[in-house]
């Protein structure tokens, strides 16, 4: 991570946030655990317009923009500061390639809503990056206060290309082709290229006027004019009238609203598929609740959370909870349920533990790994260990080491070989897992954790553990 010395105090060391360097109007930095945003003097008139026009208040009142406190310029981390802001903290920064379909769709609609409100007050979004949206539970919120600029009459929307690449392209690809194409956002940090999108989409999408215009024709226009940015001449540009811009925002909104996705098969499976009797399931819920009361974490990452049944136990205790699962359908079900419940402290995310989110972007510092966004107070790994150890051949000690890097406490369920789910996994392959026993599990995890409590889940073959990370388990 790059760091810089504070302008006001040469002894104070601040850390610039890795992804905050493209816009010369300011940057985000971390000081003593506080996240601050410096507004540079070149952004002064736009910032004043944001505040004086009432746009900031309107957006904050609607919960669309993260609120901030203004601090004095003596808090600046570099010269040329106009303001220093302290935005309300987001519990966990997440990225578009970790969202389910509905999260990305909500983020897109929020961006368009903000753009419309800004336009009514003589301003516009100067970018439309999906990374500008974060989630407070089920609610999307815009975090880049410096994205607003005064609208110049006749200008088109500068963020149009980015909006289509970051939102419309992935949503259309999921809706018409396959949910797994969301991972293209991980390999394309500025959104999915439109020429690739147009190639992957079925021909019938050309019959949808909005998709024809914003994706297919857009891709062709980009290819044809790829070099024109270098070839600027003195010809005055043709104007874009206000009605045309309103039409553009409306057309994009209609396009996004028209895209839907539901997993194949029955939704109900995602709510009811368990390997427990009702009594054993209830006991497991009680034990998880008890263990959470013992550990008293402020934050929980529930790994392999499925639809978030156990994540909700933590969330209902007021704990900031992140529910991570590799199945986009389970995460979709969880998020839709969060919307119904209007959850403010439960964030469902898509994540594959066997291939977690990497550090990406410039110098691999723009987007952090999951681990770099931690550690969390407590990791939950329920009905997960057999998937890692047997389905993915991850040795138990390696899992223990990784979990110790992710969290200070651990609630983990051991699923023995006698369990019907493990039996099913072993049915089609050779059992090469000699160490996969309860004793082997405890020995492996005691290299990184201290076992504080353990209880058999009667009515099942399984055992639930509460563990505390050893002081020397991580550097």
């Amino acid at each position: 991570m790059p760091s810089l010395l504070s302008a006001s105090s040469p002894t104070r060391t601040d850390k610039r946030v890795g992804g905050s360097f493209r816009d010369p109007c300011g940057f985000v930095f971390v000081r003593d655990g506080r996240v601050l945003r410096q507004v540079n003097k070149r952004y002064q008139s736009d910032y004043d317009q944001l505040i004086k026009s009432g746009l900031y208040d309107a957006l904050v009142a609607e919960g669309l923009l993260v609120p901030h406190k203004e601090l004095g310029v003596e808090e600046a981390a570099a010269p040329d500061a106009y303001r220093v802001l302290e935005p309300e903290r987001i519990e966990l920064i997440s990225y578009p390639y970790e969202w389910c379909f509905s999260q990305l769709r909500e983020a897109a609609l929020t961006t368009l809503r903000i753009q419309k409100l800004a336009f009514e007050r003589g301003m516009t979004l100067k970018d439309a990056s999906a990374y500008n949206i974060q989630f407070r539970g089920s609610r999307p919120v815009f975090i880049d206060t410096l994205s607003f600029e005064k609208y110049k009459d006749g200008s088109p929307w500068v963020g149009y290309r980015q909006f289509c690449q970051h939102f419309l392209a992935p949503l259309a690809l999921i809706s018409y082709v396959d949910v797994r194409l969301l991972s293209l956002l991980r390999t394309n940090i500025d959104g999915i290229p439109l020429d690739l999108t147009a190639q992957l989409l079925p021909a019938r999408t050309k019959l949808k006027p909005a998709l024809l215009m914003h994706l297919h024709l857009h891709a062709r226009a980009q290819t044809r004019n790829a070099d024109e940015g270098m070839n600027q001449n003195a010809t005055p540009r043709r104007k874009m009238n206000a009605l045309g811009l309103r039409g553009l925002f409306d057309s994009l909104t209609t396009a996004i609203r028209g895209l839907t996705w539901s997993p194949q098969g029955d939704w109900a499976n995602y709510y009811s598929e368990t390997n427990y009797s009702d009594d054993a399931f209830e006991l497991k819920r009680e034990l998880v609740s008890e263990f959470l009361d013992d550990a008293r974490p402020n934050s929980v990452w529930d790994l392999g959370a499925n639809t978030g049944v156990f994540s909700r136990i933590a969330a209902e205790k007021g704990i900031a909870t992140t529910a991570i699962d590799f199945d986009p359908a389970a995460v979709e079900a969880n998020y839709r349920q969060c919307q119904i419940e209007d959850r403010h402290n439960l964030l469902p995310l898509v994540g594959d533990l066997t291939n977690p989110s990497p550090a990406i972007g410039w110098a691999a510092e723009e987007r952090d790994t999951l681990e770099d966004r931690g550690p969390t107070d407590l990791v939950m790994a329920l009905a997960l260990i057999h998937h890692l150890a047997i389905a993915n051949n991850v040795p138990l000690t390696r899992t223990a080491e990784y979990f110790a890097r992710l969290g200070r406490h651990l609630i983990i369920e051991f699923v023995p070989k006698q369990d019907s789910q493990v039996q099913r996994m072993l049915r089609t392959r050779e059992d090469v897992f000699d160490d996969y026993t309860q004793e082997g599990f405890e020995a492996a995890f005691e290299t990184a954790f201290v076992i504080e409590r353990q209880r058999a889940v009667s009515g099942s073959e399984r055992t639930l553990y509460l563990m505390r990370r050893r002081v020397d388990a991580v550097d």
């Binding site: 500068v158 289509c164 226009a221 940015g229 009238n241 045309g244 039409g247």
Partner: protein, 72 residues
Amino acid sequence: MPSSTVDREHLFAHVMSKLRLLPTDCDGYLDPGSGSYILQVAMAGLLGAAFALKSSWLSIKMQFRAKFAKRK
């Protein structure tokens, strides 16, 4: 690339330039993309007209609904 394709691309750029559809400056930090810029301006009339029609239709529908609700 075949020369005929290059010629066609240059001709397209030339026509767009004459039609004053190409961006000439960029105040923001983000490159809006020439193709994206051109497409927006080219479609502005159509998008604006569609939006105006839709808004009028919605307004007429609302008025009818309001009248119908009063009668009930």
